[in-house]
């Protein structure tokens, strides 16, 4: 996993609710056997709309995306997280995320930042003109206009994100406990 501690830069002010994983990356692009190169197909249906944030030069290469409720709902496809990663997005800020997506994002070193709707609305407004800062050390999102919003991260997830830790490697250390469980349950 890539480590992530501090992000600073423009944020795509998308703001919509129920952005599903089919919208993030369409099924046609799931026919790949690698993780790479999905960014160019990300948000295809939104990118057909004139004036969309993804083709706005102000936000090119933004490391942050701001969305509405229930971001990443729908399919379990991790291709959605890979597509964001390939676009260079390292944090998504929204009032809520689907459970499967937030897990997938975390495994790819993308931070799912949960803030309440008024905070998200304020960040959408500021991000139209100014860059944002997401700091995992202080667990805050800040703006050049002195806004400061705190968010929560599971301690374990935060440690993995900041240390770029490999979960399978960590679990391998529990092999004796896994074996004992199998012996006890007879599976």
């Amino acid at each position: 996993m890539k480590s992530v501690r501090l992000l600073h830069g423009p944020a795509y002010p998308l703001g919509r609710k129920n952005i599903d994983t089919d919208v993030i990356i369409g099924a046609e692009h799931l026919k790949t056997i690698t993780r790479a190169g999905l960014g160019r197909h990300a948000f295809e249906t939104i990118r057909r709309e004139p004036g969309n944030v993804f083709d706005d030069p102000r936000f090119q290469g933004a490391p942050i995306l701001i969305a509405g409720d229930n971001f990443g709902c729908g399919s379990s496809r991790e291709h959605a997280a890979w597509a964001l990663d390939d676009l260079g997005i390292r944090a998504v800020i929204a009032p809520s995320f689907s459970d499967i997506f937030s897990g997938n994002a975390f495994k790819n070193g993308i931070v799912a930042v949960v803030l309440d709707q008024p905070a998200v609305d304020r960040l959408l407004e500021v991000a139209a003109e100014l860059p944002l800062t997401v700091d995992l050390e202080t667990m805050t999102v800040t703006t050049p206009l002195q806004d400061r919003f705190h968010f929560h991260l599971d301690p374990f997830r935060r440690e993995c994100l900041m240390g770029g830790l490999d979960e399978i490697g960590l679990t391998t250390a529990s092999e004796p406990a896994i074996r004992a469980y199998e012996a006890r349950t007879g599976i």
């Binding site: 099924a27 026919k31 690698t34 991790e78 809520s96 459970d99 406990a177």
Partner: protein, 475 residues
């Protein structure tokens, strides 16, 4: 001992280790693998020189990409897949299962089918087990009392390597429905109505347990339809307490326990229910009499109404973000507020998907179609059985002839037009009455417009060429 919910019992029985912050290492009893979300996981194992820890608890089958047209020629030789990228993904799965010695159901075998139809059908899914798959509709397996949920590819790799996952416990939600369902009201209408009430994110962070007489009266196949769509309300899992119907369904399945092991298993499974006095973090109650045959009008499964309703006015929603979403949805769907849903014409019919492709689904659709013809305005009407075994059973009952004589195409099993990864797609701006589970923008093909409904309702739409109250057609 404190009273526990069914979810808590299954969770507790699978905790290997608990960390200080509450994260648990959970044992995974069953892992289903398909071709779309596994290639990068196997590649990860290969790069780290890891093995599949328990191939005996793993089962692979291809379903998403496979064409639903003939797979073998008249001499039984396997036909090549036309789309080179789909062919490559299937070839990757076949190479990976061979290299890592994972049990695999061949694409041409009678047992092949949609992974969530195959698991229960083979007795791979059992009550009280933890079941995962790189697919969000894994929730379906909860119909048998398994704690089943979809995972991403990194988690697929984690399970392949360690047979475990690192998880935090979910909150619990009781969805209770009491009473008898009305004439021609099906399990699909029940779950669509629940999603309409909860909203697409209402179940996020929760595991739902479906309780009450309406669910107890349901067959296992109906319960599979309900549990399957738990994820459309945001819940990663949906659970039903196993009962005599569950045991009867599983007895003598190819991978079910046999002999004494069967008797011991049933004894254990009888303890899998929520204790009296156990409490849920949230609850929703419905009366079965409130549920009508239903259909979606928008681009989220929460956008659902009884078939007797009209296309809503976006301004009628209280929440401004919902107003904006509804305006976009109606624009995409090509619908005008105030239009009666029964005046909406359709050009495509899809009966299939992991939600509604089992034998009872096909019987319910066939009952409506029998002796009728599909409307001349219908450009394509597909019936895609959920597995080769469902297809064989339907053919033994003559259902295939009922469908083909009416003008439907009778296809080979797979995910098909539910997500349009194979050649079965709805063309742009055309409208499909579909028994699948998602009406997202572009789900059935770029620009395609999807209306979710039950198999009987899809059959009724095929006959009339518009969204139809099946109760009026078959009364």
């Amino acid at each position: 001992m404190t009273a526990r919910t069914l979810y808590e019992k299954i969770w507790d029985a699978h905790v290997i280790e608990q960390r200080e912050d509450g994260t648990c290492l959970i044992y995974i009893d069953r892992h289903l693998v398909h071709e779309v979300t596994s290639p990068q996981a196997f590649e990860g194992l290969r790069l780290a020189t890891r093995k599949v820890r328990r191939p005996d608890l793993t089962l692979a089958v291809a379903d998403h990409n496979v064409p639903t047209t003939a797979r073998v020629d008249s001499r039984g030789a396997r036909l090549a897949i036309g789309d080179p990228r789909s062919a490559e993904q299937l070839a990757a799965l076949e190479a990976n299962v061979a290299e890592f010695k994972v049990p695999y159901i061949e694409a041409t075998a009678a047992e092949q089918g949609i992974v969530h139809v195959v698991g229960p059908e083979q007795g791979f899914t059992l009550p009280g087990t933890t079941v995962v798959c790189g697919d969000s509709h894994t929730a379906a397996h909860g119909a048998l009392g398994a704690l089943a949920f979809g995972i991403g590819t990194s988690e697929v790799e984690h399970v392949l390597a360690t047979q475990t996952l690192l998880l935090r416990p979910s909150k619990t939600m009781e969805v209770r429905v009491e009473g008898r369902l009305g004439f021609a009201v099906s399990a699909k209408d029940v779950i669509l109505s629940i999603i309409g009430r909860l909203g697409a994110a209402g179940g996020t962070g929760f595991v739902i347990e479906y309780r009450g007489s309406t669910f107890r009266d349901m067959s296992i196949e109906a319960r599979l339809t309900v549990a399957n769509m738990s994820i459309e309300a945001g819940a990663r899992s949906g659970l039903f307490a196993p009962d005599e119907k569950t045991f009867a369904y599983l007895k003598d399945r190819p991978m079910s326990p046999k002999g004494d092991a069967w008797l011991e298993s049933v004894e254990r499974w009888r303890t899998l229910h929520t204790d009296d006095g156990a409490s849920f973090d949230s609850s929703l109650r419905l009366d079965a009499s409130e549920i009508a045959p239903s259909v979606t009008w928008g681009t989220s499964p929460e956008d659902v109404l009884p078939i007797t309703g009209t296309v809503p006015d976006p301004e009628s929603f209280v929440d401004s973000s919902k107003q904006a979403a509804a305006r976009k949805a109606l624009d995409y769907m090509g619908l005008t507020p105030g239009t009666s849903l029964q005046d909406v014409t359709v050009e495509h019919i899809f009966i299939g998907s992991c939600t509604n492709s089992r034998i009872e689904d096909l019987r319910q659709a066939a009952d409506v179609v029998r002796g009728r013809k599909i409307n001349s305005a219908i450009k394509q009407a597909l019936v895609v059985p959920g597995s080769g075994l469902v297809k064989r059973q339907a053919e033994a009952e003559g259902l295939d002839r009922i469908f083909t004589e009416a003008g439907f195409e009778w296809r080979e099993p797979g995910c098909s037009m539910c997500l349009a990864m194979n050649p079965d797609k709805v063309p742009p701006q055309e409208r499909c009455a579909s028994t699948s589970n998602r009406n997202f923008v572009g789900r059935q093909g770029p620009g395609a417009r999807t209306h979710l409904l039950s198999p009987a309702m899809a059959a009724a739409a095929a006959v009339t060429g518009r969204l139809t109250d099946v109760r009026e057609l078959v009364k």
